[in-house]
């Protein structure tokens, strides 16, 4: 089937998520990949929200702006989203379909209107209604046979009416396929990656779009992560550092405003050399900004956050598969270098579900790196070593007493005022860790770069959109390629071709990656493509900027 973009729009609380879920899983169960994105306002009822399904024969894990099909559950949504519907696209809405009447007639109650709408959507997209009916039965299994049956009848009625009304424009029923896809969000993946990396402790304060992470651990105790809702973000990260100092791998998650409150503790982690993983799920700022939307505005902030100078790592995964890897890597880097590691995601990564080949755990998952107390004669927490990394014992791990101190300290961890020897040695020790870290940072991924005269450079969640733009431009004969960074600090040593022109593409207005490239590599970018309206960067934005 062709790439089809289906927008399901309605008010918060009207049920678009459920419709999106049952239709998406219908496609998946039928062997077709679905990429699901969500857009909603910062309110609990009303307003304009949407779930978008991008469906095709092969996965298109990238946002598309225009809709082939628009299902609008109410008039306001219809008006709001109609401009997105491409010419000739299909509109399904109460204006053209009597959802409620059909629901009453076939289901016995208006509350089956969404099932009618889902049925109509299937007619428009070539989804056999029987597949949808089974999904509805699964979804409402807990509500008794009558409810399940009513849903099924309502869906069938919607399907039938739409088939009739759409006539030629209805999609022909798709044949079933045997393709299997994993369907998950990047935050689902981070939670599993953390658990796989033996994270034992998470404290966080609720904040969109990060809350799903702590919720996952609380919902699934079998993942082995103790989860605590802190009184504020400051408490959250200090609890994490305490747990980490006592040997438990620990993390927290938040968004920009909450991260801003954690900044002092990021500096502390650098000083006491205690690992901590911080997921910073970005949303548009400044301040409260657009709490439920997406952005990539916190890159330079994350890199520089904290007073004083100490190393850190900043990672920015691009999809769920990559996020699983990034989570495991974050804990490993944090642990081996005894530093804070920040994982940058965003609302788009957090709330979208990607269709991927079934995801597998890496073979080797490095676990905690505490030293062996038996091998130590006389312990000093901040022992000076060649690589700057001191053997780490946890508080309470053994009879060796461990002293952690936020002041500048001696090798034993005690407050020092020795400026001639101890202070410079400790500064250099910490910075040496950063130099070593830099040596093992992954270079950007390369997509058709070798013969490219124009190279798009991106980071994090925009990979799908950029790769899509590259393939469209290649198809039109342009020699375009892409470099994509998912490990952003420290940046690895690398060469940029002198002949290619570079354009950055990112979800902000000031070209933060472009600034970083200039600072680290001296590369001049010819152009900076930025999207900063709260929606994810898409291929169309890139193509417009380049045309």
């Amino acid at each position: 089937m062709n790439d089809r973009n289906v927008v399901i729009a309605g008010a918060a609380g009207e049920g678009i998520q459920t419709i999106g879920d049952v239709v998406a899983t219908s496609f998946l169960a039928h062997g077709y990949p679905v990429f699901l994105t969500q857009e909603f306002e910062s309110r609990i009822r009303g307003g304009n929200s949407s779930t978008t399904l991008r469906i095709g024969s092969a996965p298109h894990n990238a946002p598309r702006r225009d809709a082939d099909v628009l299902l609008a559950l109410n008039r306001v949504s219809q008006q709001h989203y109609a401009p997105q519907l491409r010419e000739g696209g299909i509109l399904i809405s109460p204006e053209v379909f009597a959802f409620r009447d059909l629901a009453k007639e076939h289901g016995g109650s208006e509350r089956y209107a969404n099932a009618v709408a889902a049925g109509a959507l299937c007619a428009a997209t070539g989804m056999p209604v029987a597949v949808l009916e089974r999904r509805l039965r699964e979804t409402f299994a807990g509500h008794g046979e009558e409810v399940a049956a009513a849903n099924a009848r309502a869906a069938q009625a919607g399907y039938d009416q739409a088939l009739g009304r759409l006539g030629e424009r209805a999609e022909r029923p798709l044949p079933p396929r045997t393709h299997r896809y994993a369907f998950a969000s990047a935050h689902d993946a981070i939670a599993l990656g953390a658990a796989a990396a033996e994270c034992r402790f998470m404290a966080a304060y609720p904040m969109s779009p990060s809350t799903h992470l702590i919720t996952t651990f609380a919902r699934h105790p079998e993942l082995g992560v103790f989860a605590e809702q802190a009184e504020d973000e400051i408490a959250a990260i200090h609890m994490g550092l305490g747990a980490s100092a006592a040997g438990a791998r620990a993390m927290t998650a938040t968004s920009g405003g909450g991260f801003a409150l954690m900044v002092e503790a990021v500096s502390l982690a650098g000083m006491i050399e205690t690992p901590i993983v911080i997921v910073l799920a970005q949303r548009p700022g400044p301040a409260t900004g657009l709490p439920t939307r997406t952005a990539q505005e916190d890159l330079l902030f994350a890199i520089r956050a904290g007073h004083g100078e100490a190393p850190r790592a900043v990672l920015a995964p691009s999809d769920p598969q990559d996020a699983l890897r990034a989570a495991i890597r974050a804990f490993d880097l944090a642990d081996r270098y005894q530093i804070p590691v920040i994982v940058l995601t965003d609302q788009y990564l957090a709330d979208s579900r990607f269709a991927l080949p079934p995801v597998e755990l890496p073979d080797a998952i490095p676990g905690p790196q505490l030293a062996d107390p038996a091998s130590i004669e006389r312990y000093a927490r901040y022992r000076l070593t060649d690589d700057g990394v001191s053997p780490r014992l946890a508080l309470g791990q053994s009879e060796h007493l461990v002293c952690l101190d936020s002041d500048e300290h001696t090798e034993q961890g005690h407050i020092t005022e020795d400026l001639d020897t101890v202070r410079p040695a400790m500064v250099e020790k910490r910075l040496e860790k950063g130099r070593r870290l830099k040596g093992e940072i992954a270079p950007p991924s390369r997509n058709a770069v070798d013969d490219a005269d124009l190279v798009l450079v991106g980071w994090g969640s925009t990979k799908g959109a950029i790769d899509e733009a590259v393939s469209i431009l290649r198809d039109s004969g342009r020699r375009v390629g892409a470099l994509h960074f998912t490990e952003l600090w420290p940046l690895p040593a690398m060469e940029f071709s002198e002949t290619a022109r570079y354009w950055t593409a990112e979800g902000n207005a000031t070209g933060q990656l472009a600034q970083l490239l200039r600072m680290e590599y001296g590369v001049e970018t010819e152009g900076r493509i930025g999207r900063y309206d709260g929606r994810p960067l898409d291929a169309a934005t890139i193509l417009e900027a380049l045309s």
Partner: protein, 298 residues
């Protein structure tokens, strides 16, 4: 592995004669009486003169940021409940910058002892008012005298049913050691506010306080909230010393969790194992109906 040989040649940075030495001595005595070996004790502090104490004791130390001792201690305590974790920091640190953490710690009731070196001043920063400086007292920032009322953290602890609330006096080693011993032995959050006159920036010498402390009356029933609050509410110049409030321990923080996983340090719990994660990864996959050949063809 040798027995812990701690670099206790750490030079004490307090002023000679400071009552902080009294708190240090009392704490050491309490730890000895409780027979707690150094490596089973973790001292946690923020920043300030008081917060330097952990460096002078044979124990594990987490000397974190100003105001943040409580959440760090909670993290440590959850991660390793087998250690005895004690917070020892200043009134500015715990009641000022860190006030919110203490407030919410009363709710959580972690098994911690919190010792507040209450010198009614910010000593390390050279003499500004702390949350407990009495009304009208002149400081090196409040030149016309403090014009806001002091914080009432003991009373706040009591209305939150913090199950062990005491006031000590740094000038009374025996009495303070006895209180600390009880506080550390108590299960749940124990709050001990210690009158610790600052002989450099404070308004009164130690003897001024000595004349104004009195023992909690014999007939005081420490389970009675109203009476405890009366004793707790700081008169600026009368200090009831002793245990003001003590009730049946209530469940400590993370009890439900610990019931499930046992009491060991989190770091040494059995690995979750790949299988648990793989189950979740497998649940991401939507199996195509088409694989099951019996199913109809839609």
């Amino acid at each position: 592995m040798t027995t812990p040989e701690r670099d206790l040649a750490v030079e004490n940075q307090w002023c000679p004669g400071c009552p902080n030495y009294g708190i240090l001595a009392a704490l050491k005595r309490a730890l000895e009486r409780l027979d707690l070996p150094p490596h089973r004790v973790c001292l946690v502090s923020g920043i300030g003169q008081a917060a330097k104490l952990p460096h002078y004791v044979d124990a594990h130390v987490f000397n974190g940021l100003h105001g943040r001792a409580i959440p760090a201690a909670i993290g440590i305590q959850v991660a390793n409940p087998e250690m005895t974790t004690i917070v020892t920091s200043g009134d500015g640190d715990l009641y000022g910058e860190g006030g919110n953490h203490l407030l919410h710690a009363f709710r959580r009731n972690p098994n911690l002892t919190v010792i507040v070196h209450n010198n009614r001043i910010y000593a390390l920063t050279k003499g500004q008012a702390s949350p407990t400086t009495p009304l009208g007292e002149r400081t090196r920032l409040q030149f016309d005298g403090v014009d806001v009322d002091p914080a009432q953290m003991l009373a706040t602890a009591i209305v939150h049913n913090c199950t062990f609330v005491a006031r000590g006096f740094a000038g009374d080693l025996d009495g303070l050691a006895a209180i600390l011993e009880r506080a550390i032995a108590h299960r749940g959050l124990s709050l001990v506010d210690v009158i610790q006159p600052c002989i450099t920036w404070g308004s009164h010498p130690v003897d001024w306080y000595r004349e104004r402390v009195f023992a909690v009356p014999e007939d005081h029933d420490p389970t009675q909230r109203d009476a405890a609050i009366r004793l707790a509410l700081d008169a600026p110049d009368r200090f009831a010393i002793g245990v003001l409030y003590e009730t049946e321990p209530r469940p400590t923080f993370a009890t439900a969790y610990r019931k499930r996983v046992g009491s060991g340090p989190l770091a040494w719990m059995p690995r979750i194992g790949r299988a648990a994660i793989e189950t979740h990864l497998a649940a991401w996959v939507v199996d195509p109906e088409g694989k099951e050949p019996t199913k109809e063809k839609g």
